[in-house]
């Protein structure tokens, strides 16, 4: 009898804890929930699909490397088709699911959500690099690991002025003529227009009439003819790659004697493929290294692209993947810091995470990241590239902060 009692006691001692541990195994490995909004079917799917793949790859890398101090990230990734109402609905779902941060996409939805995420104290790391999101006193929870559109635009027009206009036979004789080509109705396209025109004025350009080119345009002849009538020397392209390549092709075909500068979402590996010869000499902003370039951490990007998406050939992968990794790596670092400080909340991720960054190097050709409690612009220098023989070459690292320190500090933040 005694033996039986002992046996049952021993069994209970072994089995009950085992059952408890077994059942609660999932709970023990508590995850950190993060939402991601992507466009793989809408008006920016030409660049959004690759970005979405990059987000998923990068989160796998984070989880393979310990997650957030041992806690894996559970990613909820949705396609919202670039529809703002859908983005708002999905954001509410992220909140209900208990997400601590969101990896967002477009400017329209990011700007529309900005007051809500500020109220909710939800860090929102977007692929929209609108300068409107950099003034921390106004939009404290908006962040991204890239130079903003206005910085890119100012840098691009400055680089063209420095490297091309100064060598032009008319330099010093007349003002260079400049026009902007973009989809007026889309916040992404219009976000840096005020800034680039301000920079044009600063450098002494004559600014012509804006040209409305749809994000889904495959023909821009009438707009190109208007640029020709004005006698443009330089055109800013503010759309995404497909539409930019259509405009550049038409400009080439119609003999427009202007150079082209392009915002980062219109400047990728597909531009020379789609525009061919017309892309030669086109300058643009790239916020990180191109896919496969030899820079720190790129080996991981390529390895994970191969490992987790073997169905997508590497030659189809773009700089968009790298941009996605940059945002994920920045968020990862911020979450690790917040967690270490015992405060893995939205406010903790911002204040004990992002806003403690002082020149954090995430590699990938991204400038070292600095965020302060007042300024979420990551850096004052922006690299401008040009396409030569179908390849991207660095033209100039434009130091806006160094050249116009007062304007950088006092005037240019937030627009």
């Amino acid at each position: 009898m005694d033996f039986k009692k002992k046996w049952f006691k021993s069994a209970a001692f072994i089995i009950i804890p085992a059952l408890v541990l077994g059942v609660s195994g999932v709970a023990l490995a508590a995850s950190v929930k993060v939402g991601a909004l992507n466009d793989v079917t809408g008006a920016t799917s030409d660049v959004g699909k690759d970005y979405a793949l990059g987000i998923a790859d990068a989160i796998r890398y984070v989880n393979d490397n310990g997650g957030v101090n041992g806690k894996p990230i559970k990613l909820y990734q949705f396609d919202y088709g670039y529809r703002i109402p859908e983005a708002l609905t999905k954001y509410k779902l992220f909140k209900r699911l208990g997400c601590v941060a969101v990896l967002g996409w477009g400017t329209g939805d990011t700007e529309a959500l900005s007051p809500t995420i500020t109220q909710d104290k939800m860090p929102y790391v977007s692929a929209s690099y609108s300068a409107h999101l950099t003034k921390a006193s106004k939009t404290p929870y908006n962040l991204f690991a890239a130079t903003d559109y206005s910085t890119n635009a100012r840098a691009a027009i400055t680089a063209w002025y420095d490297t091309r206009w100064k060598k032009h036979p008319d330099f010093g004789k007349r003002k260079p003529k400049f026009v902007c080509s973009y989809h007026f109705a889309h916040p992404y396209c219009s976000a840096p227009i005020k800034a680039i025109k301000d920079q044009a004025k600063l450098l002494g350009f004559e600014v012509g009439p804006d040209q409305n080119v749809s994000l889904v345009a495959i023909d821009a002849k009438s707009q190109v003819l208007a640029m020709k009538d004005f006698g443009a020397d330089l055109v800013w392209h503010g759309n995404t790659t497909m539409s930019v390549s259509a405009t550049i092709r038409d400009a080439f075909a119609l003999g427009l004697k202007a150079d082209h500068i392009v915002n980062n979402w219109g400047f990728d590996e597909n531009l020379p493929r789609l525009a061919g010869k017309a892309a030669e000499g086109v300058m643009g902003a790239a916020v990180c290294a191109f896919f496969g370039e030899k820079v720190k951490n790129m080996d991981k990007v390529v390895e994970y692209a191969k490992k987790y998406n073997p169905g997508v050939p590497l030659e189809k992968r773009l700089i968009r993947t790298v941009q996605a990794w940059a945002n994920v790596l920045a968020l990862w670092e911020a979450m690790k810091r917040a967690d270490k400080a015992g405060d893995l909340t939205g406010e903790g991720i911002l204040k004990k995470g992002f806003e403690t960054f002082k020149g954090v190097d995430i590699g990938l050709g991204v400038p070292p990241l600095t965020y302060t409690a007042t300024d979420h612009r990551i850096a004052g220098k922006a690299p401008i590239y040009e396409i030569k023989n179908g390849k991207f070459q660095l033209v100039e690292l434009v130091d806006l902060k160094g050249r116009w320190p007062e304007k950088w500090e006092k005037e240019w933040l937030g627009w």
């Binding site: 039986k4 046996w7 793989v40 699909k49 396609d79 889904v216 495959i218 023909d219 169905g311 189809k316």
Partner: protein, 198 residues
């Protein structure tokens, strides 16, 4: 009494040994060497729900709600067979692919819900691709605009053809750039797949 206890203990030990041996016999230990890639095969595609073909531009005032560019939805279901050729269960963590109508990429869909596939068995999974004519128009233009232009085709003609002919599948529906991710005891295997229906 002592004999009874001894017998009880022996039976217990034998039962535990038999149980453990049974478990061990059921599943082999996954290794890099013996982890065979599961296969993903498209069984068929269904039009899950059909609303016909229509498009209203934002110039049209609706009876209720706000004006907008609204196109007919289309709900396609892709049914895949996932075969696990291994002697141990595998966990499928992700399945993703691009939907193509003829040579044009239309949508990218997938599932990130985890699914266990028993040793040597085949599971089925149904993945929906819900499209609407407006979204498809945008996607088609930004990803296949030049192809359409070169072929001298109008995107409206293509959309109408696809939306009206899909119940009969009179044009091929493609599964492109597909990849699925499988795990077994910490080992990872990603497989790629492509398919065409019919």
């Amino acid at each position: 009494m002592h004999k009874k206890s001894m017998l009880f203990a022996c039976i217990t030990v034998l039962a535990v040994v038999a149980f453990m041996a049974g478990c061990a016999g059921m599943t082999a230990k996954p290794t890099e060497k013996n982890f065979k890639a599961p296969t993903v095969t498209l069984s068929h595609v269904e039009v899950q729900t059909y609303w016909g073909w229509w498009f209203f531009s934002k110039k049209i005032k609706p009876a209720k709600g706000k004006p907008g560019n609204y196109g007919a939805p289309l709900d396609l279901a892709f049914i895949f067979e996932i075969k696990n050729p291994n002697d141990f269960p595998v966990l499928m963590e992700k399945l993703q692919f691009t939907v193509g109508f003829e040579e044009y990429d239309i949508n990218t869909v997938g599932s990130t819900e985890a699914m266990w596939i028993p040793a040597g068995k085949t599971n089925e999974i149904r993945i929906h691709s819900i499209l609407d004519a407006r979204q498809t128009q945008l996607s088609l233009l930004v990803t296949g605009g030049f192809k359409l232009k070169k072929a001298g085709k109008s995107f409206w003609d293509m959309l109408e053809k696809w939306w009206t002919q899909i119940p009969d599948f009179s044009f091929p529906v493609h599964v492109r750039d597909g990849s699925a991710l499988f795990k077994a005891d910490g080992l990872v295997k990603a497989v790629s797949f492509n398919a065409k229906f019919p």
